[in-house]
Symmetry: C2
Subunit: 199 residues, 2 copies
């Protein structure tokens, strides 16, 4: 958002409503954990976060025979997005939500394409110094994830996350090579990993 | 964003900065035209708007032989998104940006998928009572679209837009059937067109 302002708009009831919105948007968009735990609460508002990229067929689950490819949408919390656009780096508390959706097929004129349909999975990756590795990985596959949170993955499971997010990522532990507007910034800021080869 | 608040957070310098942000986000996110015209200025910040859906291969340009399918990302201005989530209808001044991106190919494990790369086109659809039809359609293919704007499409060209956006859309003149979180709201609110058949 651009930082335009209007003195007239700073007065009145609409103003108060905007303030509440702004404070929550600016200061409350990092990870929230269930009290006393590192169980990440499923963010209620991630669809209003910043969209950084979408892919088709790149989910890493086992492919069922004949199954249509799924979309993956990636969202990041707004304050961390803004920090990245300035620096090419992710601040502590950066939260990514990866949303999987099934795809439908439609034909317009002579072209057949795919669009997004039902939710098929929801995961998160959080940069947080509370985790031994500095990053936590989460699956929101428990129905009470919004209120009780989901525990960070551990053991061999998280090791697979870490290995892939170490070996195949362009910036830190993140697939910035798939987020074109961010990749441009990382290249400009010199934060692409030295050993990274473009896809 | 949820409407959480904190009295402590309402004081101090961060507060002032948030107010500026909030006013611009809440009240300044509708269409902006070059003075005295209906030429739409290319929104500088549409990538921070609300993402509603992505498709692959559904662009309506002529397909070049052997060309990889392109992605289409759709963003809507935040205040209109919030209105739609409450009502299932688009308020006047709703602005959609349709961003086309080329796709790259990557293989993870045994699955081949596509991710988004370079920008290949940018268009807009605006609900605005200033247009005879109530909706304007724009191509941002002029390099000075950010400062001088792009004129609304006219004549046979816009008629094709209108015909397709009348015949094939689920809600008003918009392809809400391809935006799954919005489609759910429209069905709940009863704003899906009576003659619409689900894709």
């Amino acid at each position: 958002m651009t930082a335009r302002t209007s003195s007239a708009a700073l007065i009145g009831a609409a103003f108060a409503a905007s303030v509440v919105y702004a404070v929550s948007a600016q200061q409350g968009d990092g990870p929230r954990y269930a009290p006393g735990t590192s169980n990440l609460l499923r963010p209620a508002d991630y669809r209003e976060w910043i969209f950084v990229g979408s892919s088709l067929g790149l989910d890493y689950r086992a492919a069922a025979s004949g199954q249509a490819p799924g979309f993956g949408n990636v969202f990041v919390n707004p304050s961390s997005y803004r920090a990245f656009m300035q620096t090419g780096k992710w601040p502590d508390k950066t939260t990514f939500v990866l949303e999987f959706r099934a795809s439908g097929k439609e034909t317009i004129a002579d072209r057949e394409g795919r669009f997004q349909t039902t939710l098929s999975g929801l995961e998160a990756e959080v940069k947080d110094s509370r985790f031994p590795d500095g990053w936590g990985f989460f699956l929101f596959n428990n129905p009470d994830a919004a209120t009780k949170g989901s525990p960070p993955l551990t053991g061999d499971t998280v090791q697979r996350c870490i290995d892939c997010h170490t070996k195949n990522t362009a910036v830190e532990r993140t697939f910035v090579q798939f987020y074109p507007t961010l990749f441009d910034v990382a290249k400009k800021m010199g934060t692409v990993k030295a050993n990274y080869g473009e896809p």
